[in-house]
């Protein structure tokens, strides 16, 4: 019985000109979005990789120099584009793409691409993710709203019930029928489109990217199922076609356009972030005064001096077989690093708290949950950015420490004019970003996953508990 109903729904759908047109339009839009996304991402990836190479070249060929001058000269690193970023740009246009690794200081990421775009860009980006998050649900709503409401209005629902078809059988049949019609269009197109591009894009890290891609498809299918079940539940519980349609359109509007912004404002109020001025002032205060406020730089230097003298068993700095300036500089680096860890860590934790709140707000708008998952899996969310920032910072610390140690071991205190040989710089390994695996990404998506599961259960419950019309 369920199969028959499903087949009937599907046949009706395929015969419907509107369905054919809408699906064709949707697929067209998606393919265009995927193609432009792939072109842009690839161009950016090449550009960032090339810039990274060039900067490494500058570092390696900086010539004979004092190691500390080399540390001041430093190195610029660029955030690589993740292989799946062409499906969902995420926040890539709103995070800086590069940072300068130099002595003494953890710099922020700068050069946000959005600052160079026209104001129209903030209406939204035309990505495959946008099609999947906004337009596919609209198609689902437009197809599913008359499922029950239509039959109720024309009286055929009561006829069916009178014939002895159980309401739930009818529901299953309709759900399966509609889902199959949609799946018949969406699934092959998605796999084909993304698959071809992905092969062309040369998936970087093999299995993990494939897993991410599969998880992304899973997340979207879950989202579509939620929307379909909601649409059917609304259709089954409203009296007429008009009300079903208007209710669903209102839901779509709130879900897609109103909630994301409303929640962004809410999140930044719940977990405020400092102004750039206040942030930098805080970092500066803590580096100058010491974390506890009672540890001035001079006292720290004295302590370092005593420790060095003990370690090398001498009584004066002049007798030290190594360069004390380098030792002191490294001590000050390590102290400053704790300050950076605290301030940058707090800032990113605040972002994370905001984003978790946003994910939970998916209880009002499931789009927020799937958007978070999609960006996370595409490697274009703030967690990915943080991961890159942390690795870049660790590389900076290693590099600076290496220059300080080299300076310490090869000179005596006060030899600022000494120059290291030009071939030295190539000896420190180049920076290679090791992107996190999928399991690490999913650790920050717990709320999003729970929200989608809750939506599915609630919507199914609502649909399942719809009473059959009275046949008397």
């Amino acid at each position: 019985m369920i199969r028959r109903i499903a087949v009937k729904e599907m046949t009706e759908m395929f015969r419907d000109g509107r369905f054919r047109w809408a699906s064709a339009l949707l697929l067209g839009l998606m393919l265009v979005a995927l193609a432009t996304g792939a072109t842009n991402s690839r161009a950016l990836a090449r550009e960032h990789d090339a810039a990274q190479e060039t900067m490494r070249g500058f570092w390696v060929n900086q010539g004979a120099k004092n190691p500390h001058s080399a540390a001041h000269y430093g190195l610029w690193v660029f955030k690589p584009k993740m292989p799946l970023s062409f499906v969902d740009y995420g926040v890539d246009n709103y995070t800086g793409v590069t940072t300068w690794l130099e002595a003494h200081k953890q710099n922020e990421f700068t050069r946000r691409p959005a600052m160079d775009q026209a104001s129209v860009a903030r209406f939204g980006e035309w990505t495959a993710a946008a099609v999947l998050q906004l337009l596919v649900p609209l198609l689902i709503v437009m197809l599913a709203f008359p499922a029950f409401a239509g039959e109720r209005e024309t009286g055929t629902l009561r006829q069916l019930i009178a014939l002895g078809v159980p309401m739930r059988t009818l529901m299953m049949g309709k759900a399966i029928g509609l889902a199959s019609a949609l799946a018949a269009v969406l699934v092959p197109a998605t796999i084909l489109g993304v698959g071809t591009l992905a092969i062309g894009a040369n998936f970087g890290r093999g299995t993990d990217d494939v897993l991410r891609f599969a998880a992304m498809i899973g997340a979207y299918l879950l989202y579509f199922t939620v929307v379909l079940v909601i649409a059917l539940a609304v259709s089954a519980r409203t009296t007429g076609v008009r009300i079903a349609l208007l209710t669903l359109l209102a839901f779509w509007t709130v879900n897609s356009l109103v909630a994301p912004r409303a929640v962004a404002d809410l999140a930044r109020r719940a977990y405020p972030t400092p102004s750039s001025f206040a942030f930098q002032a805080g970092v500066q205060r803590d580096t100058e005064r010491g974390l506890d406020g009672h540890n001035p730089a001079d006292a720290r230097r004295k302590a370092v001096e005593e420790q060095a003298l003990r370690e090398y068993r001498t009584i004066s700095l002049d007798a030290l077989p190594v360069n004390f300036d380098a030792i002191a500089m490294q001590a000050s680096e390590e102290y400053a690093n704790t300050v950076f860890d605290k301030h940058f860590g707090d800032l990113y934790d605040q972002y994370r708290a905001q984003n978790t709140l946003t994910q939970w707000s998916g209880l009002v708008s499931p789009l927020l949950a799937v958007r978070s998952l999609s960006m996370g899996l595409a490697g274009t969310d703030i967690e990915q950015h943080r991961d890159f920032a942390v690795q870049a910072e660790l590389y900076r610390r290693g590099l600076i420490k290496w220059t300080n140690n080299y300076f310490r071991d090869n000179t005596r205190t006060g030899e600022w004019d000494w120059k290291a040989p030009p071939e030295l710089w190539a000896k420190y390994q180049s920076f290679v970003y090791d992107a996190p695996g999928m399991s690490q990404t999913l650790r920050h998506q717990g709320a999003a996953l729970s929200v989608l599961a809750i939506w599915l259960l609630v919507a199914l419950g609502l649909l399942w508990s719809t009473p059959a019309p009275r046949v008397a």
């Binding site: 550009e47 104001s119 209406f123 980006e125 912004r261």
Partner: protein, 476 residues
């Protein structure tokens, strides 16, 4: 039926319905939330600027008293800073305070810097950090009053007008009023006018009310003009949507069909067209690459450094006004750094010019394309009126550049000569005061945008009203 009684009847019909009041309540809440967000943000920015300016003032007072004591021959005073150190101690922030209507929109202000501590170094170095904001929030955009007007206000209008004709037909009341001795067109237009008047009055009232509640001072320069422009913009955009609603109603379809078509039109105007324009414009006129700029900068500064003394003396020879002797004293490291920095900047001038012209090309194309969507036009108009548009930031940026140049010109001489900062120098240092754009130029820009909204409004509206006469009892 007399004209007045027609108006009264329609008003009673509207007022007796529960839906308009419910919609109004929702709209009121949404508007208040938008205004509250705008207020919070403007408040945060003002508090930040107060902190900055207070800190600067304190530093300056301290520096000034040191210099004064020194000038009076007080031997216990610390030695005044020289050259570059003096310049860096005397710097204050060049700030852009939120405009008079700032609470009405966040606009581009979450992305662009509104304060900068100008120094004798290059702009890239003193603008080295962006304003802090969660990129997820930047991506989503803010829920401000401008957003409410661009996205939600049309929905309110459409919800009240989508069935002016079809609703009567659905209820079967159409034949009733068609048998009255007034033309159907007048009945329909009255009906429409009552509903539209209701929404427009409420929207304008809410906008202006929220402006005042959030602390917009009407006595501030330009506040009244800008508020009037805001009202005008909201009105023009409202008329655009009414024209669309009339035209769709005139097609004579069912209410459900009207709702779908109007929602489709809304989706097209506020979502599809803008994001398509953004995609096409950025593909055809790609943003110039900041990444390439970063590498070019490093290359140029390396080249200047490699030339070393030669580059320094070349700079000094070319700028006799800054260094009379034409040479630097031995050990003037800052003088050397600055000379190399300026040589780098000079070498990069063509690169920066190419960068800027690519940006201008993209912006021009985007500005032209926005004709296609009144939503973009309105958004830009509202942001501009509120002083939150890109134009105001460019205006500030230009003043910042001029100030930076003046600051450098003033201190370079002192750095090359490694002079100590004196009380007289300190008093004569360039100061930054942001000069607001003239109201006239804002008015001109915004009116131009509104004119572009009115063109489709008139065309579509005229077609719709013309066709309304052909409305029949049974629909087409």
């Amino acid at each position: 039926m007399k004209r007045r009684s027609l108006w009264r009847t329609e008003w009673r019909l509207l007022a007796a319905d529960r839906t308009p009041w419910l919609l109004l309540l929702i709209f009121g809440i949404v508007t208040a939330y938008g205004a509250w967000n705008g207020w919070q943000w403007a408040h945060f920015q003002r508090a930040t600027l107060t902190e900055i300016v207070d800190g600067d003032t304190m530093r300056m007072v301290r520096l000034d008293s040191l210099l004064q004591r020194h000038a009076q021959g007080d031997s216990t005073a610390k030695v005044p800073p020289t050259g570059a150190l003096g310049a860096s101690m005397a710097t204050t922030h060049a700030v852009l305070a939120p405009g008079p209507l700032a609470t009405l929109a966040v606009g581009a202000s979450d992305l662009f810097p509104y304060y900068a501590r100008v120094s004798i170094r290059s702009k890239q170095s003193f603008m080295a950090s962006d304003e802090i904001e969660n990129p997820h929030n930047l991506l989503a955009g803010r829920f401000d009053l401008a957003f409410v007007m661009v996205f939600i206000y049309p929905l309110l209008l459409l919800a009240l007008t989508y069935n002016v004709v079809s609703g009567e037909r659905d209820q079967g009341t159409m034949p009733l009023w068609m048998s009255q001795p007034v033309s159907p067109r007048r009945v329909l237009l009255t009906k429409l006018a009552v509903r539209v008047g209701f929404v427009l009055a409420i929207t304008l009232g809410l906008s202006i009310g929220m402006a005042i509640v959030t602390g917009v001072s009407l006595t501030a320069d330009g506040a009244v003009v800008r508020l009037a422009l805001w009202a005008l913009a909201v009105l023009a955009y409202g008329l655009f949507w009414i024209a669309i609603a009339v035209a769709v109603n005139a097609l004579g379809r069912s209410s459900a069909m009207n709702a779908v078509v109007l929602l489709g039109a809304w989706l097209l105007v506020v979502v599809v067209i803008p994001s398509t324009i953004a995609a096409v414009v950025t593909t055809v006129y790609p943003s110039p690459s900041r990444v390439a700029l970063t590498t070019a900068l490093r290359r140029a500064s390396d080249e200047a450094a490699a030339k070393g003394d030669k580059a320094v003396s070349q700079f000094l020879a070319e700028h006799p006004e800054m260094a009379q002797s034409g040479t630097l004293a031995a050990g003037n490291a800052w003088g050397r750094t600055i000379a190399l920095q300026e040589q780098t900047t000079a070498a990069l001038r063509p690169t920066f010019a190419a960068f800027d012209s690519a940006l201008v090309a993209q912006r021009t194309a985007a500005d032209r394309a926005r004709v296609l969507s009144p939503a973009i036009l309105l958004q830009d108009a509202l942001h501009d009126v509120a002083g939150r548009g890109i134009d105001r930031y460019r205006h500030y940026d230009a003043q910042l550049d001029a100030y930076h140049q003046a600051w450098q010109a003033f201190f370079f001489r002192r750095v090359f000569a490694d002079q100590a900062l004196t009380a007289a120098d300190f008093a004569a240092r360039p100061a930054f005061t942001y000069v607001e754009e003239s109201n006239g130029s804002v008015v001109r820009r915004v009116l131009m945008l509104l004119l572009l909204v009115l063109v489709p409004t008139v065309v579509i509206g005229a077609w719709g009203i013309g066709r309304l006469t052909r409305v029949s009892v049974h629909g087409s």
